[in-house]
């Protein structure tokens, strides 16, 4: 069974006409463009044949007996939505305590709410991409999160997608819609994990964020799939005037991972921070594609992405800043820094600028290198072993971006998980 045939719109539960039309036009779009190939510039460095060859199932047998403890974020007081192999588990979830003015419920149940029809797919349908079209056609799991004008969610929302099915490869198409009204605030953590590193699964996720005037949205993507699993995550962001959106991405797991972040700064003086880290080992392939569009005057965007590649892994970074004619007064910065820890590792970096307005300040920088020998010598001259010196320096390189995250428990968890993945050094203790 190929993935196309998992798109059985007719079998979907009863839904509004617009949703059915959205799915049908997306399916037509997918039938036309199909899966991305490396002939497509945007997919030039990532071959997805391994994904398309697998016969995916839409669901499979899941176990009732699941211990969530290892997948919680210690010390984080958050609302929790748990999806097991793509299916919401209300019994394991707790969406309470978010306070007044906040709607947080399964997307599929929210389709008839005011505004959903206008927003769902409004951003994703503009991207010509096979995986996004597939999600538009087949979305099921995921949340609708709305924070109304002037309200703030009282605690962050942790959306945990856990892969447990060992025998059947399951493809899920998680879909979240996040709407922050004027001057509203919300923090959402999208978290992908698996109960073992033997699981073969696919999460083809799409999240659309609408941040209205003066809103603040902080979004985390913690990708910790099985090392035989696949994750394609696309985050669309549309920002109104003076809104602030922070996107943090940490890619640790997965055999092939593609992380798309596609913000449009559509209102004057909007600010967008895109912060990311990808740490790969073995034969992992972690691909990041940023596409920041400045469509309104006087907006600011900041992109900071870092990668560490060990063994035979490969990292890819493509970051494009697009400044429309309307984007006068744009201030955009993009940096991508990579570190290779082995001679078999590889990185492809493409920092790009596409600029149609003259009153702009845009810079990008990309560097690739290894641990600085001078710094290693400095550490050793203070009595630290070469092993420890290198480990500390690699850690320091990676950890810089954690400081930009507002949720300290997430920071601590990530630091611990990252350290576990980096080359180990006897005697090294790190405080986070």
């Amino acid at each position: 069974m190929t993935m196309q045939s998992t798109v059985e719109i007719e079998a979907m539960p009863e839904q509004p006409q617009w949703a059915r039309e959205l799915r049908e036009s997306a399916r037509a779009r997918f039938d036309k463009i199909g899966y991305p190939s490396t002939a497509d510039e945007r997919w030039r460095f990532t071959n997805v044949d391994a994904i398309t060859r697998i016969e995916w199932a839409a669901d499979g047998p899941t176990s009732d007996d699941i211990n969530l403890d290892p997948f919680q974020i210690p010390d984080l007081d958050a609302a929790l939505a748990v999806f097991i192999d793509g299916q919401l588990r209300a019994d394991l979830s707790d969406l309470s305590g978010l306070g007044e003015g906040v709607v947080c419920e399964p997307l599929i149940e929210a389709l008839s709410r005011t505004g959903v029809a206008d927003r769902l797919g409004a951003q994703s349908a503009t991207l010509t991409d096979g995986f996004t079209a597939l999600n538009d056609a087949s979305f099921g799991s995921g949340l609708y999160i709305e924070v109304q004008e002037g309200f703030a969610a009282h605690r962050p929302i942790h959306v945990l997608s856990l892969a447990t099915s060992g025998d059947t490869p399951i493809a899920a198409h998680p879909r979240n819609l996040i709407v922050a009204g004027k001057n509203a605030r919300v923090q959402v953590i999208e978290h992908y994990n698996a109960v073992s590193d033997e699981i073969v699964n696919l999460n083809n996720a799409v999240t659309e964020v609408f941040a209205d005037e003066d809103a603040f949205v902080e979004h985390y993507l913690l990708e910790r799939e099985s090392e035989r699993g696949y994750n394609i995550s696309t985050l669309f962001i549309r920002q109104g005037a003076r809104s602030v959106v922070h996107s943090h991405t940490v890619l640790l797991g997965g055999a092939i991972v593609r992380n798309n972040v596609v913000p449009t700064l559509a209102g004057e003086k909007a600010h967008c921070l895109i912060n990311g880290l990808y740490v790969a080992h073995n034969e992992q392939h972690l691909d990041n594609q940023m596409r920041v569009r400045h469509a309104a005057p006087n907006c600011e965007s900041r992109q900071y992405y870092k990668g560490i590649m060990n063994d035979k892994s490969r990292g890819v970074f493509t970051g494009r800043i697009i400044v429309d004619k309307a984007g006068q007064g744009t201030d955009a910065i993009q940096t991508n820094r990579n570190m290779l820890l082995s001679d078999d590792a590889r990185v492809n970096a493409r920092p790009q600028l596409e600029i149609y307005a003259d009153d702009v300040k845009c810079t990008h920088g990309a560097t690739t290198g290894r641990v600085d020998d001078e710094a290693v010598f400095y550490f050793r001259s203070r009595g630290l072993s070469e092993e420890v010196a290198r480990a500390m320096l690699i850690y320091a390189f990676a950890a810089e971006g954690f400081d930009r995250m507002q949720l300290a428990p997430v920071r601590r968890l990530l630091a611990a998980e990252m350290i576990a993945k980096l080359p180990r050094a006897e005697g090294l203790s790190i405080e986070v």
């Binding site: 001679d343 790009q352 307005a357 300040k361 810079t363 990008h364 690739t368």
Partner: protein, 496 residues
């Protein structure tokens, strides 16, 4: 930096493309159209040996099976090229042997372009040269290519005394077949890409340079390319070989008449630098850019590549690209020898409705290889300017290093500046740094200049020249002055 007086003088010069005239001269044409007989016609016109005809035919057959690439970033696009409407050969009827025999109309043409074909005259006849130090006025050997043929190569005798061969490539095929056969297509294979393959099939003329072991070429070498005939394409081929320890500096310049239709220029340049050899290749490209509505102009689709074959070899590309309706080229260096060096210095200016997608590729293969890329893009009018570059470091390129800096400025809100670098690193000891920025001309600098009484247009020209200084300083002195002026003229009308 340009002085104020200089800027003032430049403003007084003609505002139009000043090389847009047509030389009325009797020419031999191949009828428009391209099939095997065209390839055979060109080859027989040049009395080529059988191996070269075979090579051309192989390329032609390959080309027929290829499709024109589409990945180039040209926001305005371009209409499909009708390859059957182009004439692939045009040559002045009287084939001159010495200067006295050169058709006076041709001499006049090059005189007007500022290129002396008489060895007693100094280079270019530009006023700026008078301000240059005396050593900058040493003779420059010139190969003049008019449409499909070379009409004159100067200083051949003096160069021969030093052991340097500098002649039209068609002459080299005749006189040095072993060298041509050995190196032709060795850096840019006949099957390399659509336009290079087309060139391999129909190339007409171009320059050939051979600098033997240990020889430092005693003078600058240069080629001036002129497209004159209507409906022709120019497909020249340049091949430069520097043997062990040799050193040569070469410059090319290009102009064409103003015409309403587009003309195709698909050249190939191959450079081979052996152990400890240095090749410096400079280009001042001023093909007719078309008018402000995007009508007419040259399609400049060129493949340029050099290989540092031996250890410590060095290849340096410098380009000043102000002309052409579309510029699409990436002068590249394959760094094969250990400790070899590749450099790329570029100024690309797009005004009117010009489009450029240009940059470089540095392929690091050898140990301790280094490359430097400095690109300055200037967008004005409705110009669209794209830097595209590849830095690739292979597994064996231990301790390889690249530094890339690409800056763009925009003048006016109708233009675009784009930067698409590719970095591909495959070993942990290699390091690459890429920096890029895009801004408009600094208001405070502009104000400072105008407050001192400089007109806004001249101030922009001044500041742009300052912005490009790093690249101009890589040009041979005489040409740096020329480049400064060219930039000022090309920017005219872009302010206010």
């Amino acid at each position: 930096m340009t002085t104020t007086e200089e800027v003032a003088r430049i403003s007084d010069e003609r505002r139009e493309y000043k090389f847009g005239f047509v030389t009325d001269i009797e020419q031999d044409f191949a009828p428009p159209g391209l099939d095997e007989s065209t390839v055979r016609f060109i080859s027989s016109k040049k009395n080529e040996p059988a191996w070269l005809l075979e090579w051309r035919l192989k390329a032609f057959r390959k080309w027929q099976a290829m499709t024109e690439p589409e990945w180039v970033f040209l926001p305005y696009g371009y209409p499909p090229i009708d390859y059957q409407a182009i004439s692939y050969y045009a040559a002045p009827k009287a084939g001159p042997k010495s200067l006295d025999e050169v058709d006076p109309k041709l001499l006049e043409t090059y005189e007007k372009l500022g290129i002396p074909l008489s060895e007693t005259k100094t280079l270019l006849g530009i006023e700026g040269a008078a301000e240059s130090p005396a050593d900058a006025r040493r003779p420059v050997a010139v190969d003049a290519v008019f449409d499909s043929v070379s009409v004159k190569t100067t200083f051949q005798k003096e160069l021969a005394e030093a052991g340097v061969i500098f002649c039209p490539i068609s002459e080299a095929v005749r006189d040095h077949p072993e060298l041509v056969q050995k190196y032709l297509g060795s850096v840019v294979p006949y099957s390399d890409n659509y336009f290079a393959t087309l060139n391999s099939a129909v190339f007409s003329d171009g320059s050939f340079v051979y600098v033997p072991k240990g020889v430092k070429c005693p003078m600058e070498l240069s080629t001036y390319f002129r497209i004159n005939a209507r409906n022709t394409g120019q497909f020249e081929r340049t091949l430069i070989i520097a043997e062990e320890g040799a050193d040569v500096s070469y410059l090319e310049g290009c102009t064409a008449p103003m015409r309403d239709e587009n003309q195709l220029h698909a050249a190939v340049v191959e450079l081979v630098a052996m152990k400890d050899a240095t090749i410096k290749y400079s280009t001042i490209q001023n093909w007719y850019p078309g008018d402000e509505n995007g009508k007419g102009g040259i399609y400049n689709f060129v493949t340029k590549r050099g290989i540092c074959k031996g250890d410590r070899a060095r290849i340096s590309w410098t380009q000043v690209e102000t002309g052409s309706a579309i510029t699409w080229k990436y002068p590249s260096v394959i760094l094969q020898g250990d400790d070899s060096k590749g450099e790329f210095y570029s100024v690309a200016l797009t005004n009117l409705r010009q489009q450029a997608d240009t940059g470089t590729k540095m392929i690091h293969i050898g140990k301790n290889t280094t490359s430097t890329v400095v690109s300055k893009g200037i967008s004005a009018g409705q110009g669209q300017n794209t830097y595209r570059g590849l830095i690739q470091m292979n597994k064996g390129a231990k301790n390889a290093h690249n530094y890339t800096q690409c800056d763009s400025i925009l003048i006016g809100d109708q233009c675009g500046a784009h930067t698409f670098p590719y970095v591909d690193i495959r070993n942990q000891t290699a390091t690459a740094e890429h920096e890029a920025s895009t801004t408009k001309i600094a208001e405070d600098q502009l104000f400072y200049c105008t407050a001192r009484g400089i007109s806004e247009e001249d101030a922009v020209s001044l500041l742009v020249n300052g912005f490009c200084k790093e690249v101009f300083s890589e040009l041979p002195m005489e040409f740096a002055v020329e480049a400064n002026k060219l930039l000022a003229v090309s920017l005219e009308g872009s302010v206010g």
